[in-house]
């Protein structure tokens, strides 16, 4: 029962990703990106990584897509989209996508022996938290500092702009 579901979810992922990149109207692209994130969460669920899937929906769709939509809607159209100067852009992107798919499938077929399914043992949110803080504690602290500096930088930029105007 997993196989047809996987093919359906993978097809939706690829189609919405292509739509996100190639959509003429940029809000369509942002919403297609949201659909892609949800289908990637579906792939995570198929791989038994349920916490990852829920955080994917909560963080990516719930925050990142919202921020992208917000930015896209508020910024004037001329500042975002360059005039459509080059012809043949669609053909080039189609060729690039096909090449990527061919290379990807060849690599998968060649390396089949290396991709063995990983043993998944039942874990709880407490295990996730303990693992994160014990084994990856240093990266956790570095990430927190990066986020804090990004926040302070954004606040400083906003204050500078308000001070100028």
């Amino acid at each position: 029962m997993v196989e047809p579901v996987f093919f359906a979810v993978a097809t939706i992922t690829v189609i919405s990703a292509v739509a996100a990149l190639e959509a003429r109207e940029i809000v369509y692209g942002a919403l297609a990106l949201g659909v892609m994130f949800i289908s990637v969460a579906g792939l995570f669920i198929l791989l038994d990584a349920s916490y990852l899937a829920m955080f994917q929906i909560g963080v990516y769709v719930g925050a990142v897509v919202v921020l992208i939509l917000f930015t896209v809607i508020l910024v004037k159209r001329e500042e975002l989209i360059a005039p459509e100067a080059e012809t043949g852009g669609k053909l080039r992107s189609f060729i690039a996508l096909t090449l990527a798919l061919i290379v990807g499938s060849v690599a998968t077929v060649i390396g089949t022996g290396a991709f063995k399914p990983v043993e998944v043992y039942p874990y709880s949110i407490a295990d996730v938290g303990l693992n994160l803080l014990n084994n990856y504690g240093f990266g956790f602290i570095v990430l927190a500092l990066v986020l804090a500096s990004a926040l302070i930088g954004a606040l400083t930029l906003a204050k500078m702009e308000r001070g100028e105007s």
Binding site: V27, S50, I57, V66, I73, I125
Partner: protein
């Protein structure tokens, strides 16, 4: 079967056990669960009653009568009359709007509103999906509300909906963090995100007594997420006509309004599960009845709040969300961690 058969000399417990047994035999398949009991038919009936109760209760508080003529002096058929009226009205689609998203947005709103019912347990048996990530699923789905408001406002291609959807976006994003953090207190005490396990962890004491600050913060943040008065600004009638739903008429509007009420019902069910002990209660009523009773109490609280309070101004609203509620919820987390370390919680 979750409950053993009680003593035969205990008539109320026996009756409630046999009702529960009959219901569980009837709904022994997930399909019926999705369709009927905690699924679509139940949500439809519940929202129908909810809208009627809201109109009558608000009318009582405001010293008027409410729906009176449809259905035998009580107005119970008023919702049906409104629904039929909306079916027959012309759904006007503005010419310059984005036609696909204008018509798809109400469906997206319905999807996002109904999704939490897949994991909320109405009793130990009546849960559609008993997953280990139930609470996280509901909170992640609630994180998709701003997209719905934004797409609806943008697709309408008009000033009132646009401003209303931006206000809705600010409001939702501001109150999402206190919502997550106050739910975190509950997760810390019960040790799991599984909603059935969270209810079972309240067998000794409901979390409303163990986490009063968390309950208060969750209630206020839920009011803001649901766009109910006093957090009504995206829908401010004297200012923005109908906020981000202005351009909708006919059945599109009906679907959007219904999805708002389904939202309120879903969040009330979530509050009942997290803080009020879910289906737990003395044995003379079946557990499902306890759950519905408690959810009705929370819904009535929301209705009373709507009738009594004025609307908050936007900057005040955002300031409370980002500073006051966030500070309170972080304080709640610290207090909970301290009490857990001192072995006072969990009971």
């Amino acid at each position: 079967m979750a409950h053993p058969m009680p003593d035969i000399f205990n008539p109320p417990a026996m009756i409630s056990w046999s009702i529960q047994f009959a219901l569980e035999t009837l709904f022994s398949d997930w399909f019926l669960k999705v369709l009927i009991f905690p699924g679509f038919l139940q949500i439809g009936i519940a929202v129908y009653l909810f809208i009627w109760v809201e109109r009558k209760l608000m009318a009582d508080i405001q010293m008027r009568v409410g729906p009176l003529y449809c259905g035998r002096y009580v107005g119970i058929l008023q919702n049906l009359a409104d629904f039929v009226k909306m079916l027959f009205k012309e759904p006007i689609i503005p010419e310059k709007s984005d036609k696909f998203f204008f018509q798809a947005a109400p469906l997206l709103a319905v999807l996002v509103a109904h999704a939490p019912f897949a994991v909320i347990p109405f009793s130990e048996y009546f849960v559609i999906a008993n997953t280990d990530i139930g609470l996280l699923f509901v909170l992640a789905i609630m994180g998709m509300f701003p997209i719905v408001a934004l797409v609806t406002g943008w697709a309408s291609n008009s000033k009132f909906p646009f401003i209303g959807s931006l206000r809705a976006l600010f409001q939702h994003v501001a109150y999402e963090i206190p919502l997550w953090l106050s739910a975190l207190g509950v997760v810390m005490i019960s040790g799991t995100l599984n909603l059935v396990q969270i209810v079972k962890a309240q067998s000794n004491a409901w979390f409303i007594f163990l986490q009063p600050i968390g309950f208060a913060v969750f209630l206020v943040a839920a009011l803001a997420e649901l766009e109910r008065i006093p957090f009504d600004l995206p829908e401010a009638e004297p200012e923005l006509v109908m906020g981000w739903m202005t351009e909708y008429s006919g059945i599109n509007f009906g679907i959007l309004m219904m999805s708002l009420y389904v939202n309120v019902y879903a969040i009330s069910a979530l509050i009942t599960t997290l803080f009020l002990g879910g289906w737990l209660g003395p044995g003379f009523l079946p557990p499902v009845a306890w759950f519905l009773f408690k959810t009705t109490l929370v819904v009535m609280f929301f209705i009373v709040v709507r009738a009594v309070f004025p609307r908050l101004r936007m900057d005040f609203l955002l300031r409370i969300g980002w500073t006051g509620l966030l500070g309170l919820s972080i304080l709640n987390i610290f207090a909970t961690v301290a009490l857990i370390q001192l072995r006072i919680l969990p009971f």
